[in-house]
Amino acid sequence: MILVWKLAYKNLIRAGLKTWLNALALSFAFVLIIFYNGMIDGWNMEARQDAVEWDYGYGHLRNAGYDPADPFSIQDGHGILPEPFRKDLTPVLVWQGTIYPQGRMMPVLIKGIEVNQETVKIPSEILKTSTAGYPVLLGRKMAESAGLKKGDPVLLRWRDKNGTFDAVEATVVGIFETNVPFVDGGQLWMSLKTLQEMTGLHDEASFYIANEAYVPEPIDGWTFIDQETLLKPVTDLINAKKYGAAIMYLLLLAIGLLVIFDTQAFAIFRRQKEIGTHIAMGMTKGEVIRMFTAEGAMYSIFAIVLGGLYGTPLFIYLAKNGISFPVSGDTMGIIIAPTIYSVYSAALIVKTFLLLVISATLVSLLATRKIATMNPVEALKGKAL
């Protein structure tokens, strides 16, 4: 078996430029697969990290009546969590309201958060130190769409728990920058205590954000959603992009493999005498097939070496400097950092390596299996096909 590989290696090396051109075609697929998947993995990692840091924490303990996907659940989806269960949790109360920036009416989701919390990156400490009567925080996107700046007053109107309308003049005391659209668009953050007072929902919360130390336990009327379950929509969305774009690099891979198939199929025709000579010298047809198949497999190994030569500096650059995205993710409702730093895991490289080697070997085997039906006498004359 080693001999077959040695001969295949020698045949390819001696074929010179032809070998390297084939390997180059295949190397494009190799580099593109790693580049694209590295970028997606980087995006995924950043998106997950952002979602955890800004909203999900280590899970949500939700009031059984609260469903963030159902606006009708806001009215009744809140409650008082017994004190002994509140350890390592940050309360958030969600309520509906309306703001009137520059006289326009704009429905908002008011979120009251514990001002001393350090579980998520919402800069709630600003609310604590502000001297304004009703200090509120906005995300950049929300501030832009409402035309509000830091220090601007805005009329806020809501109904309390009994359905009675009330209104105050709130002050925008901070605008935060985030990649996470679901803590920004259409939302207004304020102190939990203030919101509880405004709504009459004393000591109540819609959900709690768990920190790392939180140990989930069954609590009547509350449901714990772990971090992975919360992150699933984010991961699913990114994976959907991944599979969609796979078509592009699989096409490139198919072109690379077609080059190998063509080369090997043509080689069988062109090298009939060589095949006959190998058989006359004592090789079995199986060994000759293995030698030609090994040549095909080696194309992929050469492609990996070649791709590694020009791809590695590119990958290192992208991992260090990232790729800037001109379109902000928050306009699309998905988490995209302005700069995505590619992540190249060992698993990605090994998987791509195996994909290339196995597919090139199979394609080469398909092209060379004709040798099995060759008559060696005719092959020696170059007339077997």
Binding site: R14, E274, A280, M281, G282, M283
Partner: protein, 236 residues
């Protein structure tokens, strides 16, 4: 008593030809002793190459028995017939069949690689084989850089480097001029005498025939004459 290296009994070879069959060899009965320098002679289509291919286990008889080195080639598996060729038979072809991307040294070395000889053994044997054929200075050249005569000498070196008991040469001088044809035949004659290798030719070239110690005349697939010759010994 001479050792019988090849025994052919009632050999028949037929090829399908459309809906009918063409009989290339008809009831051949022959034996070859170790160290013979013999040849099948006759016009094109007489069955010379067919019988050589069967002796080399590249083809199989339709009927009859062909025993080469104690192995009945008609019943050999592909693996066993490959082993027979690898260990005991060397081939020389009309069009040399050298591997163009390999050097002269590597072409000759290939049969030893297949026999899994060590690098030192290969080096020694290839050097000796190239010396026998007078090409020791051409070891690093590639076949396209060689003349026809040199290419055929490389093919001879490749055939004898593993010291096979039998060398089968199919029209070895067909692509060579007269001078090179004589050099090639003299080289093989010398190897036959020194190494006691059995050489069997298929030829219709008069230049080859004059070196043969035994001529087996084939006519329409039958042995028409089997004659032992007094050959001239040429000084190399």
């Amino acid at each position: 008593m001479n050792e019988k290296i090849i025994i052919i009994e009632n050999l028949v070879k037929r090829y399908p030809m459309g809906e009918t069959e063409f009989t290339a060899l008809k009831n051949i009965n022959l034996t070859f002793d170790k160290g013979e320098f013999a040849g099948f002679v006759g016009p094109s289509g007489s069955g010379k190459t067919t019988i050589l291919n069967i002796l080399g286990s590249l083809d199989t008889p339709t009927e009859g028995k062909v025993v080469v080195e104690g192995e009945d080639v008609s019943n050999l598996s592909e693996k066993a017939s490959a082993l027979l060729r690898k260990e005991h038979i060397g081939f020389i072809f009309q069009s040399f069949n050298l591997l163009p991307v390999y050097t002269v040294f590597e072409n000759v070395e290939l049969s030893l690689l297949l026999l899994k000889k060590s690098a030192a053994e290969r080096e020694k044997a290839v050097t000796a084989a190239l010396e026998w054929v007078g090409l020791q200075d051409m070891a690093r050249k590639k076949p396209p850089q060689l003349s026809g005569g040199e290419s055929q000498r490389v093919a001879i070196a490749r055939a004898i480097v593993k010291r096979p008991n039998i060398v089968l040469a199919d029209e070895p001088t067909a692509n060579l001029d007269a001078e090179n044809a004589h050099i090639i035949m003299q080289t093989m004659q010398k190897l036959n005498e020194e190494l006691k290798t059995t050489f069997i030719f298929a030829t219709h070239d008069e230049k080859v025939m004059q070196y043969l110690k035994r001529k087996i005349h084939l006519q329409d697939g039958r042995v028409s004459k089997d004659e032992t010759m007094e050959t001239k010994t040429l000084q190399l």
